[in-house]
């Protein structure tokens, strides 16, 4: 997460190379984490239903970097990147995927329900758009108490087709709560491409906000600097009491919808082209002109962190079965 100093380093419309390198480290950490998840799933070690954010690392990283620790987020089924970017150590996320007490949800949540209230992660949601109204409520609480905080909902293009999305944005704008709606538009809802699920051209999805008169900010979701600056501007707008903002990030899902998805529905050439031209990590690496050795150092650190996370997770504690109902009621 970007600190206040780092933000100062953004100097208006540009971000310092140091900050960008920090982003690079985080994005690579996310990538290595997601790859490890795919690997461990194939090895049969991970139970449940998993969705990785390979290709969408810049969106999570850039948005969360623009937030303060007191700001809160709600995530989706594709939750790992958001959780890492908001500041939960990867070992606690990995432990959660292994269903361990050391997990960020104590093994009760799983991949689609990563929580870490201490760092402002109010939880990931396995119901598409299910977390959005809660974010309006969190923002309302901040507004009512006069706290300079924002609440951020992450969601995808598919989520904009839900009534929940509509009611939430509508109410947020009506009450001008300090919320940011971060739309990661990867042009897919599972196997359903944009043209089969969106009545608008895929690149024009920010038009959703016109129905509420809500401010929108657009950014290339593969460009972490652009994402970061967009989120920073959105945060400032929201926290200043000017109302919520829809941040439209055009991004690309460079893997299947879920881990194990054979993607029979997807054109293989197009996917290859996307992987070659739209990888946010490759794009940033090229821009930073990282030397081989610098890259290797960063990569080794990320890989080591992820490997350690797996070890931590595997050495974790299985929750005692009789504790299954421990948290049903307060």
């Amino acid at each position: 997460m970007a600190t206040v100093e780092e933000k100062a380093g953004s100097g208006g419309r540009r971000v310092s190379e140091e900050v960008l390198k920090g982003f690079f480290r985080e994005m690579l950490l996310i990538r290595r984490f997601e790859e490890k998840v795919e690997e461990r799933f194939r090895a049969g070690e991970l139970p449940g239903f998993l969705h990785v954010a390979i290709g969408q690392e810049a969106a999570a990283t850039g948005v969360c970097a623009a937030l303060e620790r007191d700001d809160v987020i709600a995530s989706t089924h594709r939750a790992h990147a958001h959780a890492i970017a908001k500041g939960t150590p990867v070992e606690r996320i990995m432990a959660e995927l292994y269903g361990k007490v050391e997990g960020c949800s104590r093994g009760y949540g799983g991949s689609m329900h990563l929580y870490d209230v201490a760092v402002g992660n109010l939880g990931a949601n396995a119901v598409v758009a299910g977390g959005i109204p809660g974010i309006v409520g969190a923002a309302l609480a901040f507004q009512m108490r006069g706290e300079p905080r924002v609440a951020v909902a992450f969601f995808g293009d598919g989520a904009t087709n839900t009534g929940t999305f509509h009611e939430s944005l509508n109410l947020a704008q009506l009450w001008k709560v300090p919320a940011v709606f971060s739309l990661e538009n990867n042009g897919w809802a599972e196997s359903t491409p944009a043209r089969q699920q969106l009545p608008l051209p895929v690149d024009e999805l920010a038009k959703r906000a016109l129905a509420y008169g809500m401010k929108t900010i657009e950014a290339d979701g593969q460009d972490v600097e652009a994402v970061y600056l967009a989120a920073l501007a959105a945060r400032e707008h929201a926290v200043a009491g000017k109302g919520p903002v829809l941040v439209h990030l055009r991004t690309h899902r460079l893997t299947g919808h879920y881990v194990g998805d054979p993607q029979v529905y997807r054109d293989k050439d197009e996917l290859r082209r996307e992987r070659e031209t739209k990888d946010p990590i490759e794009l940033l690496r090229a821009r930073l002109e990282l030397s081989e050795s610098e890259l290797e150092t960063i990569d080794a650190a990320a890989t080591a962190e992820v490997t350690a996370a797996v070890e931590f997770a595997k050495a974790g504690t299985d929750p005692p079965p009789e504790d299954a109902l421990k948290y049903v009621y307060a």
Partner: protein, 326 residues
């Protein structure tokens, strides 16, 4: 002990909560200037202002969800869903979110949210403004469910619900708003999970909720004339359920009738019957009779409506049937 209406009792609990706890606020459709479609929130806007008495758009999903999010951030929202038929629009947030956040987070978050709603037949509302849907929520772990039948209960239970750390579905019955009853001078919370014995009796226990508590009491009076002594128990909170009080009563009377306005099939009476037959098997002298609405959407014409929903006479018939088995 002052006498107040059920409507005033609800308002009293809300007023008390708003006065004593600044985290409390109200959201709902037309609860401001209009004072709610049932007049429950009249005057609250004047005393507490539009920040705490919030008129909302017609967005049942979003207002429940906003309640959830603000509750997770330390507020104590009380959301009003105008008719319980419209709970159908917020089921996702109630069932998948409010009820599950605590478990899914491994205990990190609580959702101290109260959802007030009302419904019920008796005024020819037609099929979409009269359902009694409390049974659904009893099937959802993580929620508490309250259904109060008297001014004193509705006041004390609402105050307890607002203070509860869990999401509470709070059912009021449309036709009860004007009824009067005594309430304690001081507003004390009534702990959730305790049934109330309205009337002691020896021969049959009627476990009734909502409007049917009053029908059951009327039936009990009539039964008395016939020499049948009826005990009337109102669980008041359906979740958690005070099984012990109910079972003790049935073990004493050896017969049981359940009564609610919701359709019988799949209703809360089914759960009661299942619990009672299990816990009082060796005591029961007759099958448990269930009283509820007949199995159809509520038709509009008054004569049809009256035929569908249960009344004191139906409770009395059921009481007689159980006694006839002896």
């Amino acid at each position: 002990m002052p006498e107040v209406t059920y409507r005033e009792a609800v308002r009293d609990a809300l007023t008390h909560a708003l006065r004593t706890d600044e985290r409390v606020f109200l959201m709902g459709e037309d609860i401001g200037e209009m004072g709610g479609s049932m007049g429950v929130t009249q005057g609250l806007l004047d005393e507490f202002g539009p920040k705490r008495i919030r008129n909302t758009p017609i967005s049942e999903m979003a207002i429940v969800g906003t309640g959830i999010g603000s509750a997770m951030q330390g507020m104590r929202p009380v959301v009003e869903i105008m008719y319980e038929d419209f709970l159908t629009l917020s089921m996702e947030q109630l069932v998948n979110q409010a009820a599950k956040h605590r478990t899914m987070s491994g205990g990190q978050v609580s959702v101290p949210l109260t959802i007030r709603t009302q419904g019920g037949a008796g005024w020819s509302p037609g099929a979409q403004h009269a359902q009694q849907l409390e049974a659904w929520f009893v099937h959802v772990p993580g929620l508490k469910v309250v259904f109060a039948s008297t001014p004193a209960d509705v006041r004390g239970l609402l105050w307890a619900s607002i203070q509860d750390e869990n999401p509470v579905l709070f059912f009021e019955h449309r036709t009860l708003y004007p009824i009067k009853g005594e309430v304690p001078d001081e507003l004390e919370p009534i702990p959730l999970g305790r049934a109330r014995i309205h009337r002691e009796g020896e021969d049959v226990t009627v476990v009734a909720t909502g409007r049917l508590v009053h029908e059951a009491l009327e039936a009990a009076e009539a039964a008395e004339q016939e020499g049948i002594s009826v005990e009337v128990v109102d669980p008041r909170t359906l979740q958690p359920l005070d099984e012990e009080t109910i079972l003790e009563s049935v073990r004493k009377t050896t017969r049981c009738v359940t009564a609610h306005e919701a359709v019988t099939r799949g209703g809360f009476g089914a759960e009661l019957a299942a619990v009672v037959q299990h816990g009082a098997f060796d005591w029961l002298d007759a099958p448990i009779e269930r009283v509820g609405a007949k199995f159809g959407p509520l038709p509009f014409a008054p004569a049809l409506e009256q035929w569908v929903v249960p009344h004191a006479a139906d409770v009395l018939d059921a009481v007689r049937r159980t006694v006839a088995r002896a």
